[in-house]
């Protein structure tokens, strides 16, 4: 699925300082029944965001007008649980382009990279600073610079660099995905298939 290129993102951020946020919270299974990729953003954090009668829960951060932006800042081990890419779609469709956390679950992180959401893993210390900065001023801006692999709290200039492998970085910068790459080496793949041990 093609997505918008990612270069430098400057935005306010939404804080969610909870550890082990799992994919069943990001999008509960009962909302996975679509056969098209549409409307998942509406059900992002469904059960934390809405009461049983579908009225918004006032104390959940997505329902709090104080916080907004294209960056979601999560607690440690963000995205644990299922392989459902719907979780990453929900994050993207809601309007987030970047998730910052001190630790990501594996499959969720890979899914994000495949659909154009940048997972930025920072040190626990830096994550704490980000949470503190947002708490002190919800309008504080964060810059996520993919070419330089750097995340900066613009108010104070504090920054940290983050890792991403070169291949995925190129893809994100250009809005390419893996199928574009794999299609180009199909000859190698079919030749390889002839040669498998069994």
């Amino acid at each position: 699925m093609a997505y918008d290129k990612f270069e430098i993102l400057k935005s306010t951020a939404v804080p969610l300082p909870i550890e082990n946020v799992d994919t069943d919270q990001i999008i509960p299974a009962r909302f996975l029944k679509a056969t098209e990729r549409k409307g998942f953003g509406d059900n992002l954090f469904r059960d934390w965001r809405y009461n049983n009668d579908d009225t918004p829960k006032a104390d959940f951060v997505l329902n709090d007008a104080t916080y907004s932006g294209k960056i979601l800042v999560g607690g440690k081990n963000f995205g644990s649980g299922s392989s459902r890419e719907h979780a990453a779609w929900a994050v993207y469709d809601y309007g987030f382009r970047c998730v910052i956390s001190s630790f990501f679950a594996d499959i969720f992180k890979g899914n994000c990279l495949n659909i154009g959401v940048l997972p930025v893993q920072v040190s626990p210390e830096f994550a704490a600073k980000v949470f503190a900065a947002i708490e002190a001023n919800p309008n504080t801006e964060i810059e996520v610079n993919l070419p330089e692999q750097k995340v900066t709290l613009l108010a104070t200039g504090e920054s940290e660099s983050f890792d991403i492998n070169g291949y995925k970085k190129e893809n994100m910068l250009n809005g390419f995905d893996d199928i574009d790459y794999l299609q180009n080496i199909k000859g190698d793949i079919t030749a390889f298939a002839e040669d498998l041990p069994l």
Partner: protein, 469 residues
């Protein structure tokens, strides 16, 4: 150079290594189900690409299917639509499809091994994180996202950086009443849900060597719950014996060739792991979880730990206990329960139903308990009948449902109501996993059976005859 089992299988499937990037990994077996595949099929169609190797993909419907009256049309229009999409996509692309009502239908990770689709040394993926189950056969098996499902359909490959390697040894002999599920929950409680993130695990040591294939599947299934990409166990005589003679298993000369190769699939003596952990089997007792992730588990006779004694955020821990309506220091034993679920790709195989039956035999279901007994496949269902377990189930006042994922993820009607407490043999106790507001205690089939007949959390050892005692 010395290699681990994981290296051997991974390296033999690398089509190409991308510089400063992932490996292009060739996939031998691809399983698809109705929930995570429709958007992938749409994707290849939008790109105008065909499925490259239709014979390497296998479709089964399981996540979204009812567990009663499967002969009737599916009532929920959205579920029906997903099932129809799978059927149509499979037909259009020439992929085998074991849909609802098909005699081979069942949970994807249960039917794969049953029909010999799962084989040692293979790379196996599926858009479901518990694909790690197949690692029990010495395969590299793991869950993928829908973009990757699309990649496999289009090119039979995915692009993944090679994970780090961890070996987990459990040595000694398991105590009375301790099952493979307890071993896995014990390991996860020690590692936490993120302790193996970035790693692929090999399980080694006498406990796994002595385990049945079904037990090994339960352990490998739960690898993902400690964050690992997957887990695997070196194939041995038990593995070969299990695989032999199944529908998709090679025969004749192909079998001999396969055997010769499969026997090479073990970690070399001097191979090195990035991390190695060793546990003592004697420390493990029947386990139960008390929180909202599988790492929050403990021996059933213990009491809920204090936040201060644990790693991780105190606020998150308290939120979790708050959701469960439990307090630090509570005993789990004696807590009244409302629901029991036996099933899922973790514990929905015949040995699990045998274990369940061994406890309920001659007893009665507790009146206030609702129990869902859901076999992992039609094959399991048939064995339950053949072995006389169905009679034991009925005599004790239980009923057997039809196969599917059911309350493991509660996408169908099998939902635990808000606030109710369930003892479940599945794999996740996340908030609302078994229905909005539901509360889940993960445990073995023995613990679940003990709860089903007593109506509360009960140490199953009290209801078992200890032959050695």
């Amino acid at each position: 150079m010395s290699k681990t089992l994981f290296d051997k299988v991974w390296d033999s499937h690398v089509v190409k290594h991308v510089e400063d990037g992932p490996d292009v990994l060739f996939i031998d077996r691809h399983m698809v189900h109705e929930v995570t595949s429709p958007v992938a099929f749409l994707g290849i169609e939008n790109r105008g690409i065909d499925v490259l190797y239709p014979s390497k993909t296998f479709a089964t419907a399981d996540h979204n299917t009812p567990t009663i009256n499967q002969h009737l049309p599916v009532a929920d229009p959205l579920s029906a639509n997903q099932l129809k999409a799978l059927e149509e996509n499979a037909a259009k692309h020439g992929i085998s499809h074991w849909g609802l009502g098909h005699e081979k239908n069942g949970i994807v990770h249960v039917v794969g091994p049953e029909y010999g689709i799962t084989q040692p040394g293979a790379t196996i993926v599926c858009g479901d994180s518990h694909t790690s189950t197949h690692g029990a056969f010495g395969a590299i098996a793991f869950g993928i996202g829908t973009s990757e499902v699309e990649m496999v359909l289009a090119t039979q490959c995915i692009m993944q950086p090679k994970p780090k390697k961890m070996r987990i040894n459990v040595k000694g002999e398991l105590s009375f009443g301790v099952t493979p599920k307890d071993v896995a929950l014990y390991i996860i409680s020690k590692l936490t849900t993120s302790g193996a993130t970035g790693y692929f695990v090999e399980y080694a040591g006498d406990v796994f060597e002595n385990m049945t294939m079904e037990g090994r599947m339960t352990v490998c299934n739960l690898s993902i719950e400690m964050g690992a990409r997957g887990g695997m166990i070196a194939p041995d005589e038990k593995t070969f014996e299990y695989v032999k003679g199944r529908e998709f298993t090679p025969t004749g000369a192909a079998w001999d060739k396969a055997m010769a190769y499969w026997k090479t699939l073990k970690t070399d003596d001097d191979a090195v792991f990035d991390k190695e952990l060793t546990f003592d089997a004697a420390d493990i007792e029947p386990m139960i979880t008390y929180g909202t992730n599988p790492g929050m588990g403990m021996g059933i006779s213990k009491s809920i730990p204090n936040a201060e004694d644990l790693e991780g955020g105190v606020a998150t821990y308290k939120k979790s206990l708050g959701y469960m309506d439990f307090s630090e220091g509570d005993d789990m034993i004696g807590k009244p329960i409302d629901f029991v679920f036996i099933g899922s790709c973790t514990n929905g195989r015949i040995e699990d139903f045998r274990a369940f039956a061994s406890i309920i035999k001659g007893r009665k279901k507790a009146d206030h308990v609702t129990a869902w007994l859901v076999p992992g496949s039609h094959k399991v269902e048939a064995a339950i009948k053949e072995e006389g377990i169905l009679d034991i189930i009925h005599e004790a006042g239980f009923e057997l449902r039809e196969p599917g994922c059911s309350a493991c993820l509660a996408m169908n009607d099998d939902k635990v109501p808000a606030g109710k407490l369930a003892v479940s043999t599945s794999n996740r106790n996340f908030e609302g996993r078994q229905g909005p507001g539901s509360r889940t205690l993960l445990a073995s089939p023995l613990v679940a059976a003990a709860a089903a007949v007593t109506g509360k959390v009960t140490d199953p050892r009290e209801l078992m005859e200890n032959a050695n005692a």
